[in-house]
């Protein structure tokens, strides 16, 4: 069987590429990254001349995480905004109803929407790869890391997109959907630290398995990712060696070894993305949500 592009992705690409907005947002994005790059360069140079010695090229390696973090932040902000308005946008036009009467399953509609947002952000990521590559050339990092980094960004944009689509399915208005996605961000990024803190404050110094919840936190994932790339070590210390088996639960202890945490975390994030999409698909299916919305009425 021939693999076919999801019709929604194809349509969205047509529509996006022809819009003036894309050019402007691409420009703004490039500008933001370039400014970050130049600022980082300036800081590194200043620091170097201040210390008066050392090899400037060695410090330039830090250009990579700086620019990369900036990029990840932009992706984190932009992707949910695209997807959050996607389903509510179709609903406002009532084209969503027409889609639902075709043979597209709700999941493939939702998935198509996420894919087109990911592809759209990939335009940006691809356009900024030369800037990123520069930090590899002068910083002396292995090329393969650039590839891993791209994979991580794709993973993360799928995740961010699925949060947006989830919010979009549950909110009538696009603005509300965007707000809900950022609330979800706060829960996932911020509140997932709560068990660890509670354990540290009131526990007996033993972390237990409270850290496991952080597997689903993309911020921790990226910290670990950059740590591994820059130093070859885990956030949890050399090969997880800073933990004794008694300090933490057994599972955490095992996961903190080598690159295990990173992969487990990637799997968790992907799983969460899938869950968000599945929930969104369930929600938009009129056969499940009994209420049935009535779109804003036209002329009386």
């Amino acid at each position: 069987m021939k693999i076919r592009l999801n019709p929604i992705v194809k349509k969205d690409l047509h529509v996006t590429v022809r819009s003036m907005r894309l050019s402007w947002s691409l420009f703004a994005y490039e500008a933001a990254l370039t400014v970050t790059f130049l600022l980082a360069l300036l800081v590194i140079q200043q620091a170097n001349s201040y210390m008066g010695q050392g090899n400037i090229y060695a410090s330039l390696i830090y250009l990579f995480p700086t620019v990369a973090v900036a990029q990840v932040c932009i992706v984190a902000l932009y992707v949910p905004i695209i997807t959050a308005s996607s389903i509510s946008g179709e609903k406002e036009r009532q084209t969503f109803d027409i889609m639902m009467t075709t043979c597209m399953s709700p999941f493939s509609i939702v998935f198509g929407k996420v894919c087109s947002a990911v592809l759209r952000i990939l335009f940006f990521v691809a356009a900024s790869t030369p800037i990123m590559a520069l930090s590899f050339v002068v910083g002396g990092l292995s090329w393969i890391n650039l590839f891993y980094y791209l994979l991580a960004v794709i993973l993360f944009s799928v995740f961010a997109g699925s949060i947006g689509i989830f919010a979009s399915a549950f909110c009538r208005k696009s603005v509300a959907a965007v707000l809900l996605s950022f609330v979800l961000y706060f829960v996932i990024f911020g509140l997932s630290f709560v068990p660890v803190f509670l354990r540290l404050l009131f526990g007996s110094g033993n972390g237990g398995e409270s850290m496991l919840i952080l597997l689903g936190n993309p911020a921790v994932f990226f910290e670990e990712f950059f740590m591994q790339i820059m130093t070859g070590e885990s956030l949890f210390g050399r090969s997880g060696g800073s933990f004794d088996a008694d300090d933490v639960g057994l599972i955490t202890y095992i996961l903190a070894r080598g690159k295990l945490w990173m992969f487990a975390s990637a799997a968790c994030i992907l799983l969460m993305a899938f869950l968000f999409m599945a929930l969104a698909a369930w929600k938009v299916n009129p056969m499940h949500s009994g209420g049935g919305r009535r779109p804003a009425k036209k002329q009386a």
Partner: protein, 307 residues
């Protein structure tokens, strides 16, 4: 073709559709009439699988497919009452997108797109951006889109709202064409006379109830107990009145000089026969027409006044 059985839809405590029973035979052009808020759109959305019914069943064709299942969706083409289009998308791409949503191959889509655009008279607009089309063209494009997967049942919700008279005529011609191609068509409207011209059967809905349904002529008679007819004769008024009074299904309402108004409770054929016998009896007719607007007054009477 379409069987609706005891269909009910509640929005909270409000019943939008109340135990609706309806059967539409294959090949019908069925008009679904009712004032705004009667529950037409709700019924249609349920049939198309866009809304979950609170009770009752819907069957299409011989199939026992559940509402909203893929098998059911393949049988139905749906044109919603209001729809927007995408900016920056061409007519050809628009058709391609929906075609591939039915899993059709690009070659089939391209071939069908040509045929269907021809049918809806948009052949020259293939490479035009959809958002630049006029309202009537968009409406016809939407019909073409709904026909892409060759459904057996085509459902149009208020396709004439917002169209100018010319576009309405074009839409009417298009629907007649489609019917001659063997499609079963359901079309909703809040204007009875509009449907009476083209449908062969209608259902009248009010506040969630189906108040009348059947062949259009039957309904007309059933409702009014006949049609009001204006007759103008040149002379021989006496003879004409005498003749008319002899007819069983005719009631003479008023006679003023050479103008007569009667109500006739017979079929179209019997009305024709009446004209014939008038002429045979040397009555010279200069006018014989059904009272205009009587459809609307009937409709008002039936649906309990204006909303």
């Amino acid at each position: 073709m379409l069987y609706i059985n005891n269909l009910t839809k509640n929005y909270g405590s409000f019943t939008a559709v109340d135990r609706l029973n309806l059967h539409i035979p294959e090949g019908d052009l069925f008009g679904f009439v009712g004032p705004n808020g009667a529950g037409k759109t709700t019924t249609i959305r349920i049939v198309c699988g866009l809304l979950k019914a609170s009770g009752g069943t819907v069957r299409v064709g011989g199939t026992n497919a559940a509402v909203g299942s893929k098998a059911m969706k393949r049988l139905i083409g749906y044109v919603p009452d209001f729809f927007g289009v995408y900016d920056n998308l061409k007519v050809r791409e628009y058709m391609e997108m929906y075609g591939s949503m039915y899993g059709m191959t690009y070659r089939d889509i391209a071939r069908l797109t040509d045929d269907l655009l021809e049918l809806v008279n948009l052949s020259d607009k293939k490479e035009v951006y959809v958002d630049t089309l006029s309202r009537g063209m968009k409406q016809r494009l939407c019909v073409a889109r709904a026909m892409l997967h060759n459904p057996r049942l085509l459902i149009l919700d208020e396709p004439n709202s917002g169209l100018d008279p010319r576009a309405r005529v074009e839409m009417k011609e298009l629907l007649k064409n489609l019917r001659s191609m063997g499609k079963t068509i359901v079309i909703s409207s809040h204007i009875l006379s509009e449907l009476a011209e083209m449908c062969n059967s209608i259902g009248i809905m009010n506040r969630g109830h189906l108040v009348a349904a059947g062949q259009i002529d039957d309904i007309m008679q059933q409702l009014a107990g006949g049609s009001r007819i204006h007759i103008h004769v040149l002379s021989e008024t006496e003879a004409a009145v005498r003749l008319l009074k002899e007819q069983a299904k005719v009631r003479v309402e008023s006679v003023r000089e050479n103008d007569l108004i009667i109500t006739h409770s017979g079929t179209e054929e019997e009305i024709c026969a009446l004209i014939g016998s008038l002429i045979q009896n040397q009555v010279i007719l200069t006018d014989f027409h059904r009272e205009e607007g009587s459809l609307e007054s009937l409709f008002m009477q039936l649906t309990g006044g204006a909303q």
